[in-house]
Every structure is written in C-alpha cells, then in structure tokens.
C-alpha cells in the first residue's frame, strides 16, 4: 500500500522509515512561526523565563508582526514593540514587520519548503501546503514546547482527496473553488484530517491561486491542506533564491484516502459564503442584490498580485458606487511594490479604492476598516464569523476578489460575470 504526502512528510520529520494515518509521532519542526497577536506575548515569553529562555535553533524560528501593524493604538504599538524586542533578545534574525500577513511572508521569504514541517501560532499556517509543506496551526503553549525542544507530537492524519477537473470559466477564481469545496465538505468535515487537492485544474493554477485554496483548509477543520509540489513550486522558490535543500514529496498513486470528493471546475460559477459560517456557501445569484457598505480585497487569502490584477480588470474605467468603501490591502510589501510599479494600484485608486498597508488589520477587525452595527461587507478574506470584522451586528459575505470588485461597483452583491466576459479566460 502506498503512502500519502502527510504520512511521508511526517515520517521524514520523525526520522522513522514509515508512518501510517493514526500513528502518533514526535516530529522535528523545520520552521516555527509566531505572529504578534498570538506569539511571544501570549504565554510564551513569560513561561520561557521559567523553563529555558533560549530557542532550540535560531535559524528555524520566524517572528512576524503583521496583525497590529501599523498600530492603531498604544496597546497595539506596545505589542509590536514587545514582539520586536523579544525577537532581538533571542537572536532571531528572521524577524519581519509591517511587510504583510505572516503566511504570505512565510511563503515569499522562502521559509515554507516542500517536504518540511512548518508550524505556526496562527490557524491559516496551513496555507503553506500549496508548496508541499506539512504546515499547520498550533497554540501558544504548544509553540512554547517547540521553541525549547524543537519537537512536538503529531497524530498522522487521514487524508481526504479532493479532485478538481476541467477549466475554470471566465469570472470564476480559485477562491470560488476553495469556497465550493468547503460548502460541500462542511466546516468540520475535515477535522483532524489532511485535505489533499489534486487534478488538472489544480495543476493548471499558479502558486498564487493555489495558496488561496490551501489557506482555507482549516475552515473545514483540517490539520493541513496539501498540494503536490511541482515545477511551479520549484520556480516560485527559485525566484526567492531557494534552489535546494528540500525534497519534493508527493503521494503514491496507490495511497489510501479516507474519503474522496470530485468537482468540475468548468461547471463552477462564482459563489459566496454567507453569514456567519464559512460553509454557508451559495451561488452568488442567490444573494445578489444584497446591499453592501464595505468591500475588501486583501489578506493572506485574497490580496495577492493576481487578485489585485483581477479586481483591476473589472474596476478599470469604472467607479466604486457612492456610499460604498472599497478597501485594498496588498498581501505583502513586495506585492504592493509590484502592483504600484505596474499601475494596478493607480487603476484601483482611480476607481475609488482606498489602498492600505499590507496588514491583517481589516480581515480580523483590528484596525484600518471595522464594520459598524448593521453594516454589510463583501470580503475576499477567509472567515465570516460573527463579530470578526467589527460589530457583532454586522454581516460578512466572503467571495472572490472579482465578486468583491463587481459588488463595489454596483453597491450590492453582484455576479462578476456581469462585468467580465474575458477575465480569467
């Protein structure tokens, strides 16, 4: 019987010759990531003083200030300062701040590599699975254990195979595939498991687009969302100066899966996740006409270059509806610069968009654009839980960057195919 990617990667990390779903292994962690909101300040810094105030391997620890940047209050500024000082005091050279949401930075700075184990104090760490890493979120106390020992125990998960076949129609994005999958599997349908995405649709996607899918694996309760690393992954890393020191680990053809789901990309239309659960997924047509007050394109899910490009294609020469605010936060400083140099940001701004810093702020309601009572937001992010983006009496719909852009133009939830016949073709 063959092995899944999860079984192989975790066996490698545990230094054992083979592992099967259900085994509990002590694995060596290749990268341990902490952000500002859930990193050193929560339990870690204080408790390490009581145990051993030294990390097991400085080069394997990455600290990123992203949620509270730029700070909107003195408390937030203090947290960022604390995080920065803690990293410096512990000799962490991989400290990044003000450059964008942690998961995008982990990928861009080459910290996520195929075949490795990446654990972070943030649930969307699973995004790294698009590059073939076993990447997963952990809590602060568990991170503390990793920081002092370099290891943690993991149960090797069973794997659900999700196959996408066919070509995405114009106006439909990887984000729609992500939401559709979650709608079918359900918000707890993959709890404790890996979701592995395969098929010609996945193979045809760029790394940018793949990241938008694995990012949301945790929205099904999954421990990891994996894709086979291929030439595109190798190229993505090479462009960031990473040319070796990793292994392309893929599932065997006869690996065993606990469930399989098959989807057709060519039959997919734009979908949205309705309040207040991510699996409350409906065709955009079912809720079209719902008035929106805020439209948001950004985050580690929906703020990559290709997302901005798609949005700009719809917004070019058009205007955001009066009374609606369109906020755009490129997912990293690098994307911000590229989008600036290529004129994308100018196109978006000309349509009326407010261009923000690369940050988590809006996505998780910390700063830069919160929702008031009774307001509705259409967002390219990954979570629409009650109260997430501000008032608990606000509503969040999740959609693709194209759906967000189209809705910003009309002021109500809109099928982007009304504007795009050619984008995505």
């Amino acid at each position: 019987m063959g092995k899944t990617m999860s079984e192989k990667i975790l066996a490698r990390a545990a230094g054992v010759s083979g592992a099967s779903a259900g085994d509990i292994l002590w694995v060596n962690v290749d990268r341990a990531m902490m952000d500002d909101i859930l990193g050193p300040r929560v339990e870690i810094a204080a408790k390490m003083l009581e145990i051993k105030d030294e990390v097991w391997d400085k080069d394997k620890v990455v600290v990123i200030s992203d949620h509270y940047t730029p700070p909107a209050s003195i408390k937030q500024a203090e947290i960022v300062k604390f995080t920065r000082d803690w990293a410096a005091a512990h000799g962490i050279e991989n400290y990044h701040e003000f450059v964008g949401p942690c998961h995008q930075i982990m990928a861009e700075y080459g910290h996520v590599r195929p075949g490795t184990v990446v654990l972070g104090t943030d649930s969307h760490t699973c995004m790294g699975g698009a590059l073939g890493a076993f990447a997963s979120g952990v809590g602060s106390t568990e991170m503390l254990g990793i920081l002092v020992t370099g290891k943690t125990w993991l149960r090797v998960p069973e794997t659900i195979k999700v196959t996408w076949r066919g070509k995405l129609p114009p106006g439909v994005m990887a984000k729609d595939m992500s939401l559709k999958t979650i709608g079918i599997i359900g918000h707890a349908g993959a709890t404790y498991k890996t979701v592995e995405y395969v098929g010609d649709t996945i193979e045809a996607l760029s790394i940018d687009e793949r990241l938008a899918i694995t990012n949301m694996a945790v929205e099904m309760g999954a421990k990891a969302g994996l894709m086979a690393p291929d030439a595109k992954a190798v190229e993505f890393l090479a462009a960031r100066g990473i040319t070796g020191g990793y292994e392309l680990i893929v599932s065997d053809a006869d690996a065993s899966y606990c469930a399989t789901h098959d989807f057709r990309a060519d039959a997919l239309g734009p979908v949205v996740a309705c309040p207040h659960e991510v699996d409350n997924v409906a065709p955009v047509g079912d809720v079209k006409g719902t008035a929106v007050h805020q439209a948001y394109i950004g985050s580690c899910t929906g703020g990559r270059y290709s997302d901005l490009e798609a949005a700009a294609a719809v917004l070019k020469g058009r205007k955001v509806k009066k009374g609606v605010r369109l906020l755009v936060s490129p997912a990293s400083q690098d994307i911000w610069q590229r989008a600036s140099a290529s004129g994308l940001l100018a196109t978006l701004a000309a349509a009326g968009a407010v261009i923000l810093a690369p940050t988590c702020g809006v996505c998780v309601g910390l700063h830069s654009g919160l929702l008031a009572d009774g307001e509705v937001c259409i967002s390219a992010t990954n979570r629409n839980f009650i109260g997430r983006m501000g008032s608990k009496n606000a509503k969040i719909y999740l959609g693709s960057p194209l759906t967000v852009a189209a809705s910003a133009i009309t002021g109500k939830i809109t099928d982007p195919r009304e504007f795009v016949r050619e984008v995505g073709a």
Partner: protein, 162 residues
Amino acid sequence: MNGIVAGKVLKYGDNINTDIISPPQYMELSIPEAAKYAMSAIDPDFAAKVRQGDILVAGVNFGSGSSRETSPLTLKHLGVGAIVAKFFARIFYRNAINLGIPVIECADTDKISDGDLIEIDLAQGVIVNKTKNEQYACSKIPPHILALIGEGGLVPYLKKTV
C-alpha cells in the same frame, strides 16, 4: 488529579468559534480584561454569570477557527472547569489540554440542560447527570494526558523535563 470533575452546566449550541470566545477587538487586552468579553457576541452575560468550576456543554465543533490560545485562557481565567462537546476543533482541543482544561467528547450533549449538575469521570468516560438522574458515555482521557492535565498543563510538565 483523581479524574473526577463536577460542576454546574452552562449550555451552548453548535460551532462556538474562537471569534465568539475571544472577540478579536479585545485581544490586545490582558487575559483578565479580555475575559470580560468572552462569548459576548452570543451571550453578553457570560463573564458575569460563570462561576468557578462551571462546565461548558455545547454541540458540535467547539472552538473552531483561530489558533488563539486566548480562547481557552479566558475560559480558564473565568473558572471553567471542563468543556463537554459533541466534538472539538483540532487546535482548540490541543490548546485546552496544554492549559490543563479537561475537554470531553460526548454524543449526548443534547440531553444535558443549562443549570444541570453533572459529574464527569475522565478516566472511565462516563458523565453522570445528577439533576436528571441520567448517565451518558463520553470519551476517556488516557492516563498520560490525564497526568498532563493534573500537572496543570504542558508548562509544568516541561519544567520537569527540559
């Protein structure tokens, strides 16, 4: 710990996610301050009514969403003695154990009501509902995890071993 936890039930429904338990807008506060807002989106009185040793009982998928440890930390701070749900989201489950909070899976949580007095035998996997005079099967906590919970979580354990 002798593996028995008893307390009064605070009953909630399905999908009590981490944005409900720890609203993000208050996460910059200290745990005691943030705890005042725990669960406020669905129950503004939660922090005021929870008493030391109370047991949260809920439906499916308790703790879904974020990895934020502020969720179990605020519940612990408020005195929650154990959490029973049909099943838990993965990261929350691990966080709770690492902080020394017993988390128990039970298929029969619909039979338990707000205000019931229950007693959980963690090692045997049995919940006794003293108010209703009923008994339900629940997940057992294996001895080594029970020991970890008994120590108060992962930190005291690491202090002994690192």
